[in-house]
């Protein structure tokens, strides 16, 4: 699986409150409306600055806090297929796998806003087309890749009628 896109960079400890604020709690059953507020408190106007295929880049502990699955859901709805971070909070990581949003753990210090990036998932390679530098990362475990390649946990269960990892 290979992907390329432009980087939108954030810092450490981006909470699910920053990804989608609790003040839009009442829009959770209206995902298209909720998605308009993606990352609003971390970067106002974010939703108008991104194009489908772009990547979110972040520091450590991305997605910390609340278990709200609406956070990775609306990232994916915005057309962002990958979040690349130094580390992820575990519930966010798990939710991402379940939804088919790709979480990649790698040192992001040298990646900058606007960089064009290429990801080779299975071989664990991230290339920065701006600097020409290639960074290696550990791909998600075989168990996680299985759920991802089935299209997320719901599709996985529908395929096997049980958890088959």
């Amino acid at each position: 699986m290979k992907l390329s896109g432009f980087a939108h960079k954030f810092g450490d400890n981006i909470s699910t409150d920053l990804i989608i604020s609790g003040r839009y709690f009442h829009l959770r059953s209206n995902l298209p409306e909720l998605a308009k507020h993606l990352m609003e408190d971390a970067c106002p106007d974010f939703i108008n600055r991104i194009k489908p295929g772009d990547f979110i880049i972040a520091g450590k502990n991305f997605g910390c806090g609340s278990s709200r699955e609406h956070a990775p859901t609306i990232i994916k709805m915005a057309g962002i297929p990958v979040v690349i971070a130094k580390s992820f909070a575990r519930i966010f990581y798990r939710n991402s796998i379940n939804l088919g949003l790709l979480p990649i753990e790698v040192d992001t210090d040298e990646l900058q806003e606007g960089n064009n990036l290429e990801i080779d998932l299975l071989n664990g390679r991230l290339k920065n087309n701006e600097s020409g530098k290639e960074i290696k990362f550990l791909p998600p475990s075989p168990e996680m890749l299985k759920i991802l390649s089935d299209g997320g946990l719901i599709a996985h269960i529908k395929k096997y009628r049980r958890i088959e990892i």
Binding site: N13, S15, D17, L18, S21, G22, R23, F25, H26, L27, R28, S29, N30, D41, K60, N61, C64, G65, S66, S67, R68, E69, H70, P72, T73, S87, A89, R90, I91, R94, N95, N98, L99, S141, E143, G152, L153, I154, I157, K158, R162, I163, I165
Partner: protein
């Protein structure tokens, strides 16, 4: 090598060999949903299209986050969840009954169980010696549909608590201190297991506060041993038959060990906008506060309200003061003890049990530039509904002392 509590509980729920890092499928004893994550879970469950649900023996749905509903969209979400609970025969905890984690501890969770919930603070249940962990709506849909879930067996960090707490210092100060020490991701993908002589002196209410905040260090669970205090807690609920003793083996293997000398601990506070931004309260004294929130699933229990009332009785708060009991049961006991009267007379607003202000949904949303001191578990930017406001986190005693002066105040001045 012996086993940790985590390994014992997970081993009891799977056929697979349990060792840190391995993926296992485990049966689930309890599952919980709330009104923020429940509607999505219901939709995911219908996508699964299962003919028959193999649900865990205890499934409970809580209308606690927007309680009572402030908007028609949320009223419709509540309606969906009420219909779903009725249709599936699940327990429905209606508005005002209490916050899911408090209600789970009061009526459902037993030692040795695996509890999963579509709420990150599901880890609160670890105080009863259960493996309790938060997940997303899809995971809980699968757990409700199939009766099991997958886990990556976490390595365990042993937290050894030594010595007795001094006057004016509480379990909230222990957990804030720990999070400050290891950081907001210090226990990422791992479990915290608490032990040591301090634990045997802590009530179940104190323990629930500590386990509640395990996730703020990134932990999958924050587990306490199940002992006489657990038994007493269950006895009061008429559930003593659900008790079993549980502790780690002496030769259990840990990823690392942390020791905290609780006897030398003094009141702690988290400053904006991160829970691991910890200092001693005395370093922040004098910071002006606009609003105080005492309550939530972290510190909305009877002993929390009692200490606030002891400090505030016969005096007047200089800030806006919100009181948020964790459950109707707590609220009623607080009325019987005269706690509510003392707090009301001090100028407090008593809110219905729920999560509203802590999550920024309703009731106590901050204005631009305002500062709140809260006894909740999170102070992220925007958490209480306004990204231009600031939140500090402390114990109920620090919060009550600060309400009296209008500025951050070390509660030891009042003892």
């Amino acid at each position: 090598m012996g086993k940790t509590i985590t390994e014992k509980i997970i081993s009891d729920h799977t056929q697979a060999k349990v060792k840190a890092g391995s993926f296992v499928v485990v049966s689930v004893d309890s599952a919980l949903l709330q009104d923020g994550t429940g509607p999505l879970c219901v939709r995911k469950l219908s996508e699964l299209d299962l003919q028959v649900l193999q649900s865990p023996k205890k499934c409970a749905i809580f209308l606690d986050h927007a309680s009572p509903s402030p908007k028609m969209e949320l009223s419709n979400d509540h309606k969906l969840l009420r219909d779903f609970a009725r249709d599936k025969g699940f327990y429905l905890s209606n508005i005002g009954e209490g916050i899911c984690h408090q209600r789970m501890a009061e009526s459902f969770i037993a030692p040795g169980e695996i509890v999963v919930g579509a709420d990150s603070h599901t880890c609160t249940g670890g105080a009863l010696g259960a493996f309790a962990t938060g997940m997303g709506s899809t995971d809980i849909a699968v757990a409700i549909g199939l009766g099991y879930t997958w886990l990556k067996v976490p390595p365990v960090i042993k937290v050894e608590l030594k010595g007795r707490l001094s006057v004016g210092v509480y379990s909230k100060d222990i957990i804030l201190h720990l999070i400050g020490k290891i950081g907001a991701d210090g226990a990422g993908y791992k479990c915290l297991e608490f032990s040591g002589e301090t634990i045997s002196c802590l009530s179940m209410e104190d323990r629930l506060c500590i386990s509640n905040m395990a996730v703020e260090a990134g932990a999958k669970a924050g587990i306490m041993p199940s002992d006489d205090i657990t038994l007493e807690f269950l006895k009061k609920q008429g559930r003593e038959n659900e008790w079993k003793g549980l502790s780690a083996d002496i030769n259990a293997g840990y990823e690392s060990e942390i020791e905290i000398d609780c006897s030398s601990l003094i009141p702690q506070i988290a400053s904006p906008h991160s829970v691991d931004n910890i200092s001693e309260v005395k370093e922040k004294e004098g910071t002006k506060i606009d609003q105080i929130l005492i309550g939530t699933c972290t510190n909305g229990r009877l002993s929390d309200l009692r200490v606030a009332a002891e400090i505030l009785k016969g005096k007047k708060a200089k800030t806006r003061l919100l009181i948020l009991p964790a459950s109707a049961f707590v609220y009623l006991e607080a009325i019987k003890e005269g706690i509510i009267e003392a707090l009301l007379s001090a100028g407090a607003v008593i809110l219905p049990p729920g999560c509203g202000p802590c999550v920024g949904i309703h009731q106590g949303i901050l204005g631009d530039g305002e500062i709140c001191l809260s006894t909740a578990n999170r102070n992220f930017k925007g958490r209480m509904g306004n990204p231009n406001a600031e939140i500090y986190l402390s114990s109920p005693a620090t919060a009550a002392a600060s309400a009296l002066t209008g500025t951050i105040t070390d509660p030891r001045r009042f003892f």
